[in-house]
Amino acid sequence: MSDVVTHLSYLAAATLFIFSLRWLNRPTTARRGVAAGIGGMALAIFGTLLHPEIVTFSWIALAAVAGIAVGVPLSRVPLTAVPQRTAISHAFGGLAAGLVGTAKYIVWLHDGELTSFRTGAIIVEILLGFLTFTGSLMAAGKLQEVIPTRPITYRGQNAVNFVLLGIAVLAGIALIADPTKAYLFPVVIALSLTFGVLLIIPIGGADMPTVISLLNSYAGLSAVAMGFVLENQLLIIAGALDGASGFILSVIMCRAMNRSFTNVLFGAFGQVQVASGSVEQRAMKSASAHDAADYLANATRVVIVPGYGMAVAQAQHRVREVFDTLTKRGIDVKFAIHPVAGRMPGHMNVLLAEADIPYSALLEMDEINPDMPQCDVCVVVGANDVVNPAARSDKGSPIYGMPIIDADKSRVVIAIKRSRNPGFAGIDNELFYAENTIMVFGDAKGVIAEIAAALKEEEQAAAA
């Protein structure tokens, strides 16, 4: 009887998970999606607790309480830290899969119930699980900048990685052939843990959106493998949904940078950039925040291109003030969001939404680009590579071919930048030397606040 109830609750859980993701298609129904997800998870846990094999609940309860105690504060991190939190969460997902796989191997080895199929599924589960665990921890470390964000490379790196992975796979195959060769099991674990670290070391900070999405996919696939180990369809379905999501996001991120998966994983982007350092000192036109405010006040259409630098400077609330003032004057203000703006997919939208900017003003790169020639003033805040026209024209540039926001087609470009140094990726930006560009140097938050103040001053003067 309890078996039927378990199956029914799993079936309902899988259905709710699908609805959960479906309702995420629009911001208006999205919160319903969270409710569906919570309902599905509650049903899944309920159904599992009915299993007759469970002899004691004390350990489960203790671990669950500890999980809640850590989970609640983790959900309250500042939104700039959401990518790190997400990476840690991938790590935990991988860890759970790896540990369950290991435990299952020990139990079945002891009971003599290891078949080749079971061993194979366990090997896939622990390979993916443990490499996701250490890989995601590395990614989180890079995002939190406790580990250098610059790619760390050495000669023969890819060869070393492939050999390691090859040995792990060979050990796995040997185990499948003879599941009782238990001494090989720790070898597979150790190699996948090591491989996870080595895989992320050569990847630079700019590639984090892709890497995070890819690790998301791996975490999902490790849950799928766990489903095959435990012969549980719910795990397979939920894992596949997660795997599909991570995969789609990685493809979107790769396209947005005009790069392939293999190039992100094995290309060590940073290397190319150092080589392209032929920077001659050219003149930039610099202006004050007051001048910038004048340009804005006289515009009809304004496009703001925010980059991660804006979030780092915590300037989004000041940007909102400028947005409000201009909108009140009847000036059309839109935000142009590049897919890789920020440190994970969609990051910039969340940061702007937090600053109370309505999502109807947030436009995708592809939506806004056709309108850029009609734009009077384009304000670039903390963005760099995503507006670099070299991506369109300079075949020698490392970012050549990457789709960009056509900021340079605006009548006037105001670029706010901390200093004259090249940005995060170390590539010189043509846009900053263009005829129609004026630079305002300074901390993004301070400059935007000055612009907002100047606009308000002018408004009061006009009213008086």
Partner: protein, 98 residues
């Protein structure tokens, strides 16, 4: 190993992957960060396997492994759903009355 079971699992995987692609492609690009934290929480379905291992208490080692797995999954469930909702609450169609 029951062949029928293996194949029904493969069918489930195939269908769920297609459903996943179809559904996720329709997710608004605005919401890709919440999407990732929501799928994070959903893939913490690994909690099912973790509970079984921790609860069947075969021996101390597997119980500890299962317990840690329950902890990790539960952390993901709680933080994943909470932070997704927290982010989604911020998305407003129109700005605050100014």
């Amino acid at each position: 190993m029951n062949q029928d079971l293996v194949f029904s699992m493969l069918f489930a995987l195939m269908l769920a992957t297609f459903v996943g692609f179809a559904v996720i492609q329709n997710v608004s690009r605005l919401l890709h960060t919440p999407l990732m934290s929501l799928t994070n929480a959903i893939s913490a379905i690994a909690v099912v396997g973790s509970i079984l291992i921790a609860g069947e208490q075969k021996d101390t080692l597997t119980t500890v492994l299962g317990g840690v797995a329950v902890f990790a999954s539960m952390t993901n469930i709680v933080s994943g759903f909470l932070i997704t909702d927290r982010m989604l609450k911020m998305f407003k169609e129109k700005g605050p009355k100014s």
